[in-house]
């Protein structure tokens, strides 16, 4: 058998959903389910090797070709960018990027420059650049919702799933920025050098989404 295809999965929910998908395709993922602290795990009957990594690292490993494929959220792809093929929208991990402010705040009113707090500075910058709007962007690492409450920022750009956290903190979505879901990505050379195997796998996945 040829060298296994390495696929990097974003740890956490996307990992679980992907493993679910692989099992639906009939592959035995016992090793991944009972992984303990191991980070590289075989799925022998699919000739796959699963690598567990943080979202940003999935992209880095795939870009460098040390992993042939990866599963990562569109949010990370939008923030990181990079050179790889984005092949399939896997449909799970759905949520959205949205612009939110304190309830009732007139974000687009006045001529003052608005301050945006976010974990995703590139996504925010592109969004406002497209509007031709100068903004001041401040990167926050933890709960971004705090920034408008503490009056550090006029608004936030963040991932919104149910909107519960926003509501409980007196914030509301005023505009959607972009929809998000999990994507199957591939290294540009791997897709060419191992075309048949990867194409076969993609076909199986697409039939079972």
């Amino acid at each position: 058998m040829s060298k296994p295809i390495r696929i990097a999965l974003t740890k956490g929910r996307l990992e679980k959903d992907t493993v679910g998908l692989l099992e639906k395709l009939g592959f035995d993922c016992t090793a991944v389910r009972e992984k303990g602290r191991k980070l590289i795990l075989p799925v022998p009957d699919a000739n796959l090797e699963v690598v567990l990594a943080k979202a940003n690292d999935v992209i880095t490993y795939v870009e460098h070709g040390v992993c042939d494929m990866g599963v990562v959220g569109k949010d990370t792809i939008m923030e990181m960018d990079g050179k790889f093929y984005e092949l399939v929208d896997l449909g799970f991990g759905r949520c959205k990027f949205a612009l939110a402010t304190k309830k009732g705040y007139d974000f687009y009113g006045g001529y003052g420059i608005k301050t945006i707090a976010t974990k995703y500075p590139n996504v925010s910058r592109h969004f406002f650049e497209k509007k031709g709007m100068d903004t001041e962007i401040i990167k926050i690492e933890g709960s971004v919702e705090l920034a408008p409450l503490l009056e550090l920022a006029d608004g936030i750009v963040d991932i919104v799933e149910t909107g519960t956290t926003l509501k409980e903190n007196g914030l509301e979505v005023i505009e959607d920025v972009a929809p998000i879901s999990a994507r199957l990505i591939a290294n540009t050379v791997s897709l060419k050098m191992r075309h048949a195997e990867i194409e076969h796998l993609i076909k199986l996945i697409e039939e079972n989404l």
Binding site: H64, G65, E86, L87, V88, S190, M193, H195
Partner: protein
């Protein structure tokens, strides 16, 4: 203030010993190969005026250029590419030269890459430019040189061809802004099927959008041409596909069983001044292409001389990286002999050393004032022979 006097800037590195041998070996192999096919070497300046890269069509985004100013305040860039400076030379000093011109180069290019991504801002590119021929034979000549270059690296390789003309024909039939065309291009380039389909659906269903949707999936072996035949009933596209198929078949024969030739109709790179044939070369075990090029029939006309051209560049850093991963670095050939001079015999010693070198040996002159230190040095550096010059020269075996 912090000092940076002990480190090199991000994206650059020092190469030592074995690493240099490996690099030079790759460069010499490629240059030798190009010269054996009649290509003449050119060296262009490392610094160019910004204007050379800021033509009507902007091939290099300004944020990726290293910029500085000259003594008169004019904007300069560190050359990000060799093809454009060569186009400049062709359109000026070589304007009256007999065509076709066969040029080659081996020089460093500089581009700013995102920080902390393990990328290099300084890349050695060794390549060819074949200028003034639009013949199929010129395309094949370049493909055959590319195959020989990859084969010379002694690893499993694959050469991929495409024709950007097919994409340009298709997108030209759409009544949309350049901005939207660029979005379509980007989505085809990244084989982003979901986003490409959404975008094209929003433009309404038509044979053109249906064909564009299929483009990124059309890659692989010769079967691609069967699938592409139903792409669109259009005279130009059919002609381009037939030409490419012709080239594909010839290329497969040229390549023989050493490597693989594949085709990808979704090769639509951006920084490309390319107008027709596109080629890319891959080595097993490296995540990016190590060779890239194509036909650029309009570029030189931007410098005022309207002639066609085709060429490619090999990324020497990329190849060195694969080789370093696959095998040990080459050993540095040590000296064969070390010559030690007793006091007063220094000039004699240099003469003796020169004589030995003329026999083809690697000879060091010892820089110690006692024989015992010379012996120790020779042991450590695995130098087999010490020659002592003390009026009557004698050899000491280690």
């Amino acid at each position: 203030m912090r000092n940076y006097d002990l480190i090199t800037p991000e994206g650059t590195k020092d190469l030592l010993f074995g690493e240099c041998i490996l690099r030079r070996d790759i460069e010499n192999k490629l240059l030798g190969l190009f010269k054996s096919r009649g290509y003449c070497e050119m060296i262009t300046p490392g610094l160019e005026f910004f204007d050379v890269f800021n033509l009507n069509s902007q091939y290099f985004p300004q944020e990726n250029l290293y910029k500085l100013t000259d003594a008169k305040g004019r904007l300069l860039v560190m050359r990000p590419d060799s093809t454009m400076p060569i186009a400049r030379v062709v359109a000026t000093r070589l304007k009256d030269a007999t065509l076709p011109l066969k040029l080659c180069y081996d020089q460093t290019v500089y581009r700013t890459e995102p920080a902390l991504k393990g990328r290099s801002d300084e890349i050695v590119q060794t390549g060819i430019e074949l200028i003034g021929s639009q013949l199929k034979m010129a395309d094949l000549e370049v493909i055959s040189t590319a195959v020989d270059s990859l084969r010379a690296m002694g690893m499993e390789f694959s050469l991929e061809i495409g024709n950007i003309g097919i994409f340009k024909e298709l997108v030209g039939k759409l009544d949309v802004s350049d901005h939207v065309k660029e979005k379509i291009r980007r989505r085809i380039e990244t084989k982003n099927f979901p986003a490409l389909n959404d975008l094209l659906d929003s433009l309404g269903a038509s044979p053109v959008t249906a064909a564009l949707k299929k483009l990124p999936a059309l890659f692989g072996g010769e079967e691609v041409f069967e699938k592409a035949a139903e792409l669109m009933p259009d005279e130009n596209i059919t002609r381009l596909l037939e030409e490419l198929r012709d080239i594909y078949r010839d290329a497969a024969e040229i390549c023989g069983s050493d490597g693989t030739i594949t085709v990808d109709l979704g090769l639509v790179n951006k920084t490309d001044y390319y107008t027709g044939l596109i080629i890319k070369g891959y080595l097993q075990g490296h995540g990016e292409e190590v060779l890239s090029g194509g036909r650029y029939d309009k570029l030189i006309s931007e410098f005022g001389y309207d002639i066609p051209a085709v060429g490619f560049a090999v990324n020497v850093n990329g190849i060195a990286k694969v080789m370093e991963k696959n095998s040990e670095l080459p050993r540095i050939p040590g000296a064969d002999v070390i010559v030690y001079a007793e006091e007063g015999c220094e000039v004699e010693a240099f003469k003796a050393a020169r004589k030995l070198r003329e026999q083809g040996l690697i000879v060091e002159n010892a820089l110690f004032d006692d024989l015992e230190s010379v012996r120790e040095y020779a042991m450590e550096h695995k130098i087999a022979k010490v020659v002592v010059i003390d009026g009557e020269s004698k050899e000491v075996q280690i």
